[in-house]
Amino acid sequence: MMSFYYSYQPLIDFFLIAVGLGYSQQLALRAGVFSIATAGFSALGAYATAILVTRYGVPVPAAILVSAVVGMAVSYVLSVPLARLRGAFQAIATLAFVQVVIALLLYFESFTGGAIGISGIPRVMNTGWLLLAVLVTIYVIWSINRTSVGRVFNALRQDDSVAASLGVPIKSYYALAFVLSGLIGAVFGALRSLYVFNIEPVDFGFHAMVASLTVVVLGGRNTLLGPIAGALIMAILPELARPLAENRGILNGVILILVITFLPNGVGDELVYWLRRRLRRAPKTMSKRKEGADVVAAD
């Protein structure tokens, strides 16, 4: 067990970071906000912590706290215009946000180090701390799910006009989901910067955006298991495909297409729904691919 841990330690650590960013992405999606801003939040969090720690000697916990506040503030400001848009347009607007963040990181070279980024960040994170952060995140989301807030998020995703007609102030709840997403994204961005020694704007570009979205869509958008399952697939795939050497990208692509085509809810969600159906022993006739499955998930 220990030798397994030592040989795969970096893989496990990056898996934990991916799970955290996955939860940030999932929170927005399950409240019906089609946001891909997680990469931008993690960039802000990572740079805030890195600059404070390396330039100003701020203690690490305080720097992470500042990152969290920055993430929440920016996501709150962003949630106001975002509430006016729908669907793919939210995706495009958040994509624009990430691109602007990256362009500004490149432009203000004296402050952010430009394309070279910031190096010499002390490495204070290890598997234990990352695991703790992931567990705290899971606990927070699990608690939210047990309150009316979690039910409102599910209602917003399924039909926001119905939610509004039942007296739910939908804009505030959209904002709440988005701020939580920004908070988690910024904190895990900060943790990542305290793990990898140096950060540069490319780390948070199109690929980062696609990576956290892929984790959630592959794993599942509604259940707590989703991001874990998705991040696990994304961590294991490159290892499995190692013998294929240069053709790894082809295998990754094929698996993405196959999983989404045949398990459209994502591996984690489908597993949870299947287990629930088994446990209740009630022959469910409703289609598992339609929103009926969401109702099962919403309790």
């Binding site: 729908r86 793919a88 692509g253 085509t261 459209p264 809810n265 691919r289």
Partner: protein, 296 residues
């Protein structure tokens, strides 16, 4: 100098328009984001490069690349989108499957080119300059402008005036109702994907020729730009896409010339954000395509 920059911007904007037209056609008809569009664009440049390397004349390589990328795009539709249209979650799922296709195409291109940056041999296209009013324009730029103009007009005629164009518009506004009228949605999707792919491939060849660099990641910045064009021009609006693309080309060449290239990206995406806020329909979108409208 200013006029010269505007002219250069117009030419690159015209090429962006070719790329964005296909993207907006798919987005307008199916409401799906096709993230593999950048890879198809890249494939066009690659096919034309290897065709000319085999000694084929350039005009033939251009034609070959256009048709081949159209065919690739139809295959992409078959592999990545056809199944999803039947399930309810196409909006999210299409993003992931098209990323999958993107990975596959980029991986193949990386293998074929050994991760090298390729360029067309000197003299593939005659190098010739014309001067007027103190500006210089190359024969290549003139050809690009002419070609784009002809293609845009042909596409506009096709969509607005022919029976097939009416079918495309019918399917984009209501797939079920048009199926009742005997229109095959699958055939319409195939044709829109072919046109979109062919336009992207052609744009890839022209970009590869005018910037003289072809590599497996060349599609990505153009894909990001296509988002901006689609939003500023208005969802599914073809003339809007052309105007927005040329506008972006000009803004880009002016900011690069007078400010800096990093700032140019920031300005373009800030422009996108502002447009989404104040003109959610885009500059040319119709009210029916309102971005704030229902998700279903």
């Amino acid at each position: 100098m200013l006029l010269q920059q505007i002219l250069n911007g117009t030419v690159s904007g015209a090429i962006y328009a070719l790329f964005a037209l296909g993207f907006t056609l798919i987005f307008g008809v199916q409401k799906l984001l096709n993230l593999a569009h950048g890879a198809i664009f890249m494939a066009g440049a690659f096919i034309a490069y290897y065709a000319t390397a085999q000694g084929l004349p350039f005009w033939f390589a251009l034609l070959l690349a256009t048709i081949a990328t159209g065919a690739i795009s139809v295959v992409v539709d078959f592999v990545a989108f056809r199944q999803l249209r039947k399930s309810g979650h196409a909006e999210f799922a299409a993003i992931v499957t098209s990323i999958g296709v993107d990975l596959i195409l980029m991986n193949i291109a990386q293998q074929v080119s050994n991760t090298k940056v390729l360029s067309f041999p000197f003299g593939t296209f005659p190098v010739k300059f014309f001067s007027f009013w103190g500006m210089r324009i190359s024969l290549l730029q003139l050809t690009i402008l002419g070609l784009v103009l002809v293609l845009v007009l042909a596409l506009a005629y096709y969509i607005n005036r022919t029976s097939f164009g009416r079918q495309v518009r019918a399917v984009s506004s209501n797939e079920h109702a048009s199926a009742l009228l005997g229109i095959s949605a699958a055939a319409v999707y195939r044709q829109t994907f072919f046109i979109a792919g062919a336009l992207a491939g052609l744009a890839g060849v022209l970009i590869g020729l005018s910037f003289n660099s072809i590599h497996f990641m060349m599609g990505e910045p153009f894909l990001l730009q296509a988002f901006v064009v689609v939003v500023i021009g208005g969802l599914g609006s073809l003339q809007g896409a052309v105007v927005a693309a040329i506008l972006i080309g000009i803004v880009q060449s002016l900011t690069i010339a007078y400010l800096s290239s990093e700032l140019s990206t920031a300005i373009i995406f800030a422009l996108l954000f502002v447009t989404l806020l104040f003109f959610p329909n885009g500059l040319f979108g119709r009210a029916g395509n309102y971005a704030g409208g229902s998700r279903r």
